[in-house]
């Protein structure tokens, strides 16, 4: 049996609105948008023009600095618009979907017979390559590098995250094929992070050719960053690739069927959702197809593509992110809070806090309806030790954040910036008394190092 690593530090934020294990089909979206902004640091080079007809799987743009990485259209249809922002930066490529999908069929290499290079080329040509991300830097993997290992986490511990045991149930063939494909890409092992707290679906239990390690503990135990750190930490100059479990099944599906079919289950969650459930949908679909009519109060709520800790802020008119398996809808917190009733001197029964300054710790089973208020004001660092409590790494988070803030590359390197991604700091940002945007600081630090040193 695999070994279990138990993590003492972390925090489960108990929110109202977990998705019930029922799957509905989301209506087909009229438009789909592939947004280069979903892929951090990407400069796209367009391969299509407005009015072009595309199939599902047709390449629509490529990475300007790494042209072998191509990004494909999730559906067949017509290029409707290329939205540009400041300095003509491409923000999104909007595709008007045809009534049904035709797939761009390419030659598929079979991992059991093909060479590693053939498998890699096949993945690059398919447009599925962007599903593989790399550490350090938390960006789309650079195909030139050879990773020392590839990590997949079989569970997501973020607040209200989809349950992969449910999502991937019955997809054993796809999942195993995905693993076999990844196995070709690395000299090391493919690691599967198992959930040490519960019995998992046979998809994961029966997976072959993987090194399984179980992790038990609170969030972020399900983050690959934590799992890499505790089993095979990244040193300077090393690369580790990571793939989301559901994306791995998508890769497997491609190698089984030859179809660029991104269909996945998306959990619609959050306190403002009337009946939180799973929806079968495509990424990049219009948010309205999933959210409209399903929420309680459309005027004053925040729609997040992804989880409440590191998702992106969307609206009913925008699109589901490329990587996201979840939508979270929360109440906006744009009201002032009087100090005695709801502010800093209140009893705070409805506030969730990891500190013992609010009575959250007295109600271990209670679930909370949290809004997006900052609950305080931006300050310098004052309180010490609070970040460490939710950061299960052998890294000093506050020192690393300060190094990032001061753009001190040497310190960032020696303090372990290569091992972390912004999402690993999401809880630090949540608990920070001084309300510092820690994920932004870490991202800026990573960008700086990538620009200066790589």
């Amino acid at each position: 049996m695999s070994k279990t690593i138990s993590l003492k530090r972390g925090l489960d934020i108990r929110l109202v609105g977990e998705a019930e294990k029922i799957t509905l089909d989301a209506p087909r979206s009229k438009f789909y948008a592939v947004r280069p902004t979903d892929f951090h640091g990407l400069t796209p080079k367009m391969l299509v023009k407005v009015g072009d007809t595309v199939k599902a799987g047709s390449s629509i743009f490529q990475d300007k600095y790494n042209e072998s990485v191509e990004y494909a259209s999730p559906v067949s249809g017509k290029i409707h618009d290329i939205v540009r922002g400041d300095k003509r930066r491409i923000l999104s490529v909007v595709i008007e979907a045809a009534a049904s999908d035709e797939y761009e069929m390419k030659n598929v290499a079979h991992p059991s017979s093909a060479s590693a290079e053939e498998v890699k080329q096949c993945l690059l040509a398919s447009g599925l390559w962007p599903l593989i991300k790399q550490r350090p830097f938390d960006i789309v993997a650079d195909p030139v590098q050879t990773p020392k290992a590839i990590y997949v986490s079989s569970f997501d511990s973020a607040p209200l995250a989809p349950d992969y045991d449910y999502v991937l149930h019955g997809m054993q063939a796809e999942f195993q094929m995905g693993i076999d494909v990844l196995k070709k890409l690395t000299a090391g092992a493919v690691h599967l992070g198992m959930n040490g707290k519960s019995k998992q679906d046979e998809v994961f239990v029966n997976a072959q050719n993987v090194t399984k390690t179980a992790f038990s503990g609170k969030h972020p135990a399900g983050n690959v960053g934590v799992q890499i750190h505790h089993t095979n930490p990244i040193n300077k100059g090393e690369y580790v690739w990571v793939v989301n479990a559901q994306d791995l099944a998508i890769i497997g599906r491609y190698f089984l069927t030859g179809k660029y079919d991104l269909t996945k289950l998306v959990a619609l969650t959050g306190s403002e959702v009337k009946a939180p459930k799973y929806y079968r949908s495509l990424p990049c679909a219009q948010m309205s197809t999933l959210v409209e009519g399903n929420t309680k109060n459309e005027a004053d709520e925040r729609i997040i593509s992804g989880n409440a800790l590191c998702g992106s802020q969307e609206s009913i008119d925008t699109y589901l992110g490329f990587y996201d398996n979840q939508i979270t809808v929360l109440p906006e917190g744009n009201q002032m809070k009087f100090l005695l009733t709801d502010g800093w001197l209140s009893p705070g029964l409805n506030k969730f806090s990891n500190s013992r300054l609010y009575p959250t710790f007295l109600f271990p089973g209670k679930k909370y309806r949290l809004d997006t208020n900052l609950n305080g004001e931006d300050r310098g660092f004052v309180v010490t030790g609070e970040l460490e409590k939710v950061f299960p790494f052998d890294i000093y988070p506050m020192h690393l954040v300060k190094a990032a803030m001061t753009e001190d590359i040497d310190s960032m390197e020696s303090l372990g910036i290569y091992e972390v991604a912004p999402e690993d700091f999401a809880l630090c940002e949540f608990v920070c008394t001084s309300k510092i945007n820690i994920q932004d600081e870490i991202r800026a630090g990573l960008d700086l190092i990538k620009r200066e040193c790589f």
């Binding site: 929110l15 607040p159 930490p233 040193n235 925040r302 997040i304 409440a308 800790l309 590191c310 992106s312 802020q313 979270t328 929360l330 917190g333 744009n334 002032m336 809070k337 009087f338 100090l339 009733t341 709801d342 502010g343 800093w344 001197l345 705070g348 506030k351 969730f352 806090s353 990891n354 500190s355 300054l357 609010y358 959250t360 997006t372 208020n373 900052l374 609950n375 305080g376 004001e377 300050r379 310098g380 660092f381 004052v382 309180v383 010490t384 030790g385 052998d394 000093y396 020192h399 020696s414 303090l415 999401a426 940002e429 949540f430 608990v431 008394t433 001084s434 309300k435 994920q439 932004d440």
Partner: protein, 397 residues
């Protein structure tokens, strides 16, 4: 509350940029955010945030100081009556209302001056620098009077506070950026600028003392043990004059808030229960002091060294310093293991200075200030150990 909210919103343009009272914007901002947590929402990153903020954190510390403050007022009153009557053994728990009122009349103006001057300086400074007023002074303003002897004139409290806020904090960038503890900066300023008002045997009792009455503290008397003219007869003499229980309860003369170890401990319970104060620092500080005390007991070459080690924990500012001063998160060590070393050396130094340095009867203030300066060094070594672990891994791989 809707009414108040409306009024605040109505006033906002007056203080906004271009408004009539634009210069007072940060004063308005401080008062408005005091009454209402602003409607600011998150934009990216974590969309939800912990309920805790700096205002609540600081408020808990002020709350934890209340027992020491109340007891300090009463104790001040008591020693005033002792000094007036010349009777050291005046019953402690009689004339309670008189004593408390006298103490309150002496102490409250100091608190008013401390908050008034400190917040005044912050308001002006923040306006010039254009950053909002931070909460740090809520605690400093309360700490400053509590570490002063009762006889210190009000103007000195004001000057010291102004100095501490300006030089100790604002020049470094405000709350969270200072290197040494603000309240101790104020005390150290007076200690070196006006030594006659900060130590000796005439500053601890309020009002005029009876002829021939010496208002020394335990530490003053202990110091005299190793001088040519001891004021008490040996270790047994000093232990007769100040029993352990009296010292623990705080029924001894001293700075306003520091005398009662019990009152400080009540505060400590609140700080530890809420997680605001670091138990590591408090414990290691006490252990450091105790260990050094026992070491001196073992050496025992003079009468001061023979004073029982545990007495060091309950007299002077030891308990107050360990609980409220050393634990200041901004100036203490920031790493978990660093905090242990920081506290241990702090406690050790405090007793070391008390026993070995004839010029300074009380060593806690200097010990903590010194450790404030050393804290980054301690953290440096702790963090460096982590860095070395990472480097070693690279070599193995």
């Amino acid at each position: 509350m809707k009414f108040l909210e409306k009024q605040l919103k109505k006033l906002e343009p007056t203080f906004a940029k271009g408004g009539k009272l634009e210069k007072l914007h940060y004063v308005y901002d401080a008062l408005a955010t005091f009454a209402f947590t602003p409607a600011t929402t998150t934009t990216r990153g974590a969309h939800i945030r912990d309920g805790v903020d700096l205002k609540r954190t600081m408020f808990i510390v002020v709350l934890a100081l209340i027992p020491a403050l109340i007891f300090g007022m009463y104790n001040t009153g008591h020693w005033h009556f002792v000094a007036e009557s010349g009777n050291w053994n005046l019953p402690y728990w009689e004339q309670m209302l008189d004593k408390f009122l006298y103490g309150a009349i002496k102490v409250l103006p100091m608190i008013v001056v401390s908050y008034g001057v400190g917040l005044g300086v912050e308001f002006i400074f923040c306006n010039i620098k254009g950053h909002p007023i931070h909460e740090g002074f809520l605690v400093s303003g309360m700490l400053i009077p509590l570490v002063m002897p009762v006889e210190v004139p009000l103007w000195m409290v004001g000057v010291a506070t102004g100095f501490a806020v300006l030089i100790g904090k604002e020049v470094f960038g405000g709350t969270g950026m200072n290197i040494v503890n603000i309240a101790l900066t104020a005390r150290a300023f007076l200690f070196f600028a006006y030594p006659t008002k900060m130590s000796g045997d005439t500053v601890w009792m309020g009002g005029k003392e009876a002829d021939g009455f010496s208002g020394a503290t335990f530490l003053g008397d202990a110091q005299s043990l190793i001088s040519d003219s001891p004021t008490v007869e040996g270790v047994s003499g000093i232990m007769d004059k100040y029993s352990f229980m009296d010292s623990f309860l705080g029924m001894i003369p001293g700075s306003i808030g520091e005398t009662s170890a019990l009152a400080c401990l009540i505060g400590a319970v609140l700080l530890i229960a809420t997680g605001v104060g670091s138990l590591r620092i408090m414990l290691s500080f006490a252990i450091g002091g105790l260990a050094t005390g026992y070491l001196f007991n073992a050496i025992g070459v003079n009468a001061y060294m023979d004073i029982p080690a545990y007495m060091h924990l309950v007299v002077g500012g030891f308990a107050f310093g360990a609980i409220f001063m050393a634990t200041d998160p901004v100036t203490a060590a920031q790493t978990a293991s660093g905090k242990i070393w920081y506290g241990f050396f702090g406690g050790m130094l405090a007793v070391l200075i008390r026993v070995l340095n004839p010029a300074y009867p009380e060593g806690v203030m200097l010990a903590i200030l010194f450790m404030n300066i050393m804290a980054p060094l301690i953290d440096h070594y702790v963090v460096q150990a982590n860095i070395n672990r990472r480097l070693k891994r690279l070599k193995v791989a």
